[in-house]
């Protein structure tokens, strides 16, 4: 698994394709519950937080330029504790992938195929994801870059929204909600923007020198933040505050209002295209799951296939749970610790370890 390398632009697309996914569709109404008219500020604030996290990643990864997270933990924490942390990561990646695919399947059932049994959809989604995820990282990157062309189409479709009546006054006055609601809103946004943690695992596989890596990571974050802000902004000016609270997927719903002579339901077209970023997210997590436990190629392939089975099973179980809310809260906070606190601690530890080595040498 040492051979395949990806370029920096490919890393950019790997990150944005993982981040942009199912979370965005329901995001505007989710934050609106908390931050009201200042939701868009919440998104920007979440972007800032992620930027700080990315900076911490960069500090950590800079010291181990050719090792992925799985190897770094074992190096810093020793073989047993490191393995334990890696297994924890693996479990979380599987859970996140299952959770994402559960939401994904529920969305498809709600909007497109209400009568199709859920497991069939799970099978299709996970099967497609595994088919891509088992391959080398450069192949995954190739597909993600290609699929990113569709973002242009999505943006184009979203621009049509401006033909609907829009009320810029919905945003005014800026900052009325106050600081706390905005911060609470950005907490929700943070969870919708998950996926930047792929850097931890893909960083080592970028070819060329390490200069400019922080820039690539920041650019990806900036793109995603602006992309999200734009869609939240669209929903804020497109819906009245009362309506926005009652809709589950405002990003899709807002397109429902558009009608043309030839085509009536743009939202379905949008959703069809959106299927690709949603699947890409699951591909990324499956690939992360494989990478978190092994660095060797044949083992990786088997592990990804096994992870696919696990995601399928877990996702199916999750979809039968009534209380998704509590589960998702628990999952999100746990995951939050894993991707922010653990790398930060590792970074601090790495400083200590290095100092110790130096002291030993002297």
């Amino acid at each position: 698994m040492n051979a395949p390398k990806v370029s920096k632009p490919q890393l950019f697309f790997l990150i944005i394709k993982t981040q942009i996914g199912i979370g965005l569709l329901s995001l505007p109404s989710d934050i609106h519950h908390l931050a009201k008219r200042d939701s868009w500020i919440s998104v920007l604030a979440a972007g800032m937080v992620i930027q700080i996290v990315l900076f911490a990643y960069w500090l950590l990864l800079r010291q181990f330029p050719n090792q992925s997270m799985g190897q770094i933990t074992e190096r810093i924490l020793g073989p047993y504790a490191g393995k334990a942390v890696n297994v924890a990561y693996y479990v979380f990646f599987i859970l996140i992938a299952s959770y994402a695919s559960t939401l994904y399947v529920q969305l498809i059932q709600l909007w497109m195929l209400p009568l199709t049994p859920g497991w069939v959809l799970f099978l299709l989604i996970v099967g497609t994801s595994v088919y891509l995820a088992v391959d080398r990282l450069d192949v995954i990157a190739r597909f993600f870059v290609l699929a990113s062309i569709l973002f242009a189409v999505l943006l184009l479709i979203s621009v049509m929204n401006f033909m609907n009546p829009v009320h810029l006054s919905n945003l005014l006055p800026v900052g009325r909600s106050g600081t706390m609601p905005v911060l609470q809103g950005s907490e929700r946004t943070f969870f919708a923007m998950l996926g930047f943690e792929v850097t931890l695992y893909f960083y080592a596989q970028v070819e060329g020198n390490r200069a400019g890596m922080l820039r690539v990571m920041s650019l990806a974050n900036a793109f995603v933040t602006l992309f999200y802000t734009y869609f939240v902004f669209l929903c804020l000016i497109g819906f009245s505050p009362v309506a926005l609270e009652q809709i589950n997927e405002p990003v899709l719903f807002i397109l429902k209002g558009l009608a043309y002579r030839l085509i009536d339901r743009i939202d379905l077209i949008f959703l069809t295209i959106w299927i690709i970023p949603m699947t890409a997210t699951i591909v990324s997590y499956l690939s992360l799951a494989g990478r978190s436990l092994t660095a060797r190629r044949p083992a990786y392939r088997k592990l990804v296939a096994l992870s696919g089975v696990l995601v399928f099973a877990t996702g199916w179980c999750l979809s039968t749970i009534e209380q998704m809310k509590s589960f998702s809260q628990w999952l999100e906070y746990g995951y939050f610790l894993m991707i922010t606190a653990v790398p930060a601690i590792l970074w601090l530890a790495s400083l200590l370890v290095r100092n110790k080595e130096k002291a030993g040498a002297a």
Partner: protein, 488 residues
Amino acid sequence: MNNVQKARLSGTLGQKIVQIAAYLSHSEDLKIQKLSFRDQSCAILYVDVLVKPESVQSNIMQPLKESVSGNVEQNLVAFAVNKSPELVRVGQLLLEGCCAIITAEDEAAIMVRVPQAHNRSIEEPRAEQVVKGPHDGFIEDLSTNIYLLRNRIKHPNFKVNYMTFGTVTNTRTAMIYMDRLANPAIVAECEKRLGELELDYLYSAGNLDEMLEEHPMSPFPQTLQTERPDRVVSYLMEGKIALIVDGSPSVLILPITFFSFYQSPDDYNSRWLTGSFFRFIRLISFILAICLPAIYIAIVTYHSEVLPIGILYSVKVSLTYVPLTPILEAILMQIILELLKEAAIRLPNPISQTIGIVGGLVIGTAVVEAQLVSHTMIVVIGLTAIASFVTPINEFGTSLRILGFPMMAAAAMFGFFGIAIMLMLIFIHLCKIQTLGVPYFTPFGPYQGKNSFKDVLLRVPLWTFNKTERTREGSLVKQAVFGRWKRR
């Protein structure tokens, strides 16, 4: 068998003749003529269908009879003279159109090349016609085909490697590439794969194609077969390898990428704006050929709300009395279309026109009037067929029509979701496969700089092609697709 492989000519003249005749199964077209060359007796053997009688007469017989001095070899009027005492070698050369001269004294037979050639004249290939540009095409003769290429590239780096495949057919094959321009790793890989081939027979370039493919289960062709010399020249100049099989007018190009199947010589012979326009139309046709029937099926079965009420009404009305479900309807029409195509393709022109009329007019209109199939379906299938015929390489269009079937099935089962998943699978597959180590989806695969995109979605003007530098000293500098190149 081993004895035969090692056998050498020996004994008296008569014994040698019998040896050769026995080796060639006493075939009756092996002609043996005895004559005396100054006082010594010798024999001339040849397979009379393979040699040119006039050359045997004027280059071998006459000089030998009239000679006054020197030995046999010195008297022959021929440019290619071989000597071999090995029976197998003599037999092989006889089958390649040589004439063998054996004498009682000399152990080795003298082989003189006097081949007969019955070649078709050079014509424009029927399957790859162009509006503008050269109208010559490859024929079944290897030498003529190499001539057509050499005549266009007069450069010392034009390299030909001959190989022979097939233990029975002994088919000569040429591997041609531009030395120093083609990537040596790719050339080595190709040579390695060709070296490992073990075949009894090689009929055509298609056979070779099947043996070289990396992903035999893929629906996409991984080598490009063309009968156009100008096309092959352009690929050679891009550093690709051409394989020519004797007896087959198709030339194999490899490694090939997806977008090569959407390029046509016409693009380069007309102005860049026109070229780009048609390139773009062709790429749209790729998506249309795969998706159009599937989209129609998905809309009428699952997502009829996508259409505004006016159009929906007319579509649904035409479906009212149709006894088949949309998926069956689509598959039926696709199969009818393929039937018509298959029936018409091999028939002589006047009859195939009749088929066109029967198929297009009679079946097309009657099937709608009988309300077996809806109007819209006819339109959709017609458009799909046309879109799939747009690809400049016919083989690729067929792949697209075949891919249309799983696509339709997915649409019938899962609507738009099925289409999106199927398209994803197709594109993931395209990203995965490689030919000779080159990703099929280059340049979308590994990013290779802005220049590599210039000839993909559009055909930008030739003068914008920068020289792309090669790393090695003294290597060739590629300047343009159809371009000039010079030594640095």
